[in-house]
Amino acid sequence: MTKRMLTPSQTVGPYFSMQLKPVVVPAGPDVPGRRIRVEGRVLDGGGRPVEDALVEVWQADAAGRYRHPADARDEPPPDDGFSGYGRVHTDFETGTFRFTTVMPGRVPDPRGGLQAPHLNLIVTARGMLLHLHTRLYFGDEDEANAEDFVLAQVPAQRRPTLIARLTDEGELPTYAFDIRLQGDGETVFFDL
């Protein structure tokens, strides 16, 4: 059967940040789980912060459940305050983004094992004709990361681009994750 042509992607442009409805947190304040903070920058090929990028998050809840009909496992479904989706734009002055959420649980992989905890990220910006998919893994989850089904499909020398660094172990553990669009240490982006 002939497949239809896809509608081509176009840039999000410079104006989405006051136009798209803000969805800052994937998990509301009462959602069970360990709160974490993620902060980072989106960097261009010249190492400069991209001051008008959109970073979207799609994640499982603390029990490793997605709020989605395809996730039909027996565990209790996600709390009502948990959508699993959030989006933030980078700061116009500094190019940084940050959000607070709950640490995702482990999600099954197709082999019957468990993936390491991860956030699915989509990044796009003015000057990008297509968005990019990547994943954020957690630097203090060495054991889980070592057996992760998707990390194993990434060339070993590029895996570190997907690991966020724990920078603050205080009350609100904070992970640093820069997304490099191009050049040295270019982040791994996925073809889904």
Binding site: R4, P14, M18, P69, V150, Q182
Partner: protein, 235 residues
């Protein structure tokens, strides 16, 4: 190979005529992965559940007044590559006003008037037949800094969040017969064969007497690739 095939209908990351792509395009190949539950799911259904539609951009500024401009109905269906409707997809649009001006603090170089009755933002979730519908005003073209005397053709930005991550799409809808299309680097970054997919179709049957002009715009999203989860009970 999968990637090359899949990207055929899309623009390349690097398109030199659109200058901002030069430092923002990845240079390494995308890494193809076997999908997991993380990719087989996506934010569309959760958003459909948690958000209300907001489809009348001519009045949703909430001022009690109506936006200035040519009233325009934009409707269509969201389909997958096999032509099957895709329900439960969040469709968000944003656009300039009739004078080509965005409600945005960064818009400082174009001395066109703002319209106090127009925000230029709407959202809705596709129905069981994959359809969506907005009432808006026709946006104006506006200048940008890519090259001397550069003007964007009139367009409506559209963001789609579906039921799996691979269905994510951000695109722009254009209007038929716009002379600026031929010289717009963003539109022309898409391969020649797929550009027409981004041009809406004027539909006189949709046009409402003494009210608004009608344009149809169907959107075709990538379907989910088979994952082991879809073969049965997983494991």
């Amino acid at each position: 190979m999968g990637m090359a095939e899949k990207l055929t209908d899309h623009p390349p990351f690097l398109y030199r005529d659109y200058r901002s792509t030069v430092l923002r395009a990845p240079r390494k190949d995308l890494v193809e992965i076997v999908r997991t539950l993380s990719e087989a799911t996506g934010p569309g259904p959760a958003w459909a559940e948690l958000n209300d539609d907001d489809t009348d951009l001519t009045t949703n500024a909430g001022t009690g007044g109506e936006a200035l401009g040519s009233r325009t109905i934009v409707t269509g269906r969201v389909l997958d590559e096999d032509g099957e409707p895709v329900p439960g997809t969040l469709v968000e649009i944003w656009q300039a006003n009739a004078a080509g001006r965005y409600v945005h603090w960064r818009e400082v170089e174009f001395p066109a008037p703002l319209d106090p009755n127009f925000l230029g933002v709407g959202q809705c979730v596709t129905g069981d037949d994959g359809s969506y519908r907005f009432l808006t005003i026709r946006p104006g073209p506006y200048p940008w800094g890519n090259h001397p005397n550069a003007w964007r053709p009139a367009h409506i930005h559209m963001s789609l969040l579906g039921s799996h991550l691979g269905a994510r799409l951000v695109t722009q809808m254009y209007f038929p017969g716009d002379p600026l299309l031929a010289i717009d680097p963003i539109f022309n970054a898409a391969p020649e064969h797929s550009r027409d997919r981004m041009i809406s179709v004027y539909d006189h049957d949709l046009t409402t007497e003494r009210w608004a002009l009608g344009y149809r715009f169907d959107v075709v999203l990538a379907g989910p690739r088979a994952t082991p989860f879809e073969d049965g009970d997983g494991g």
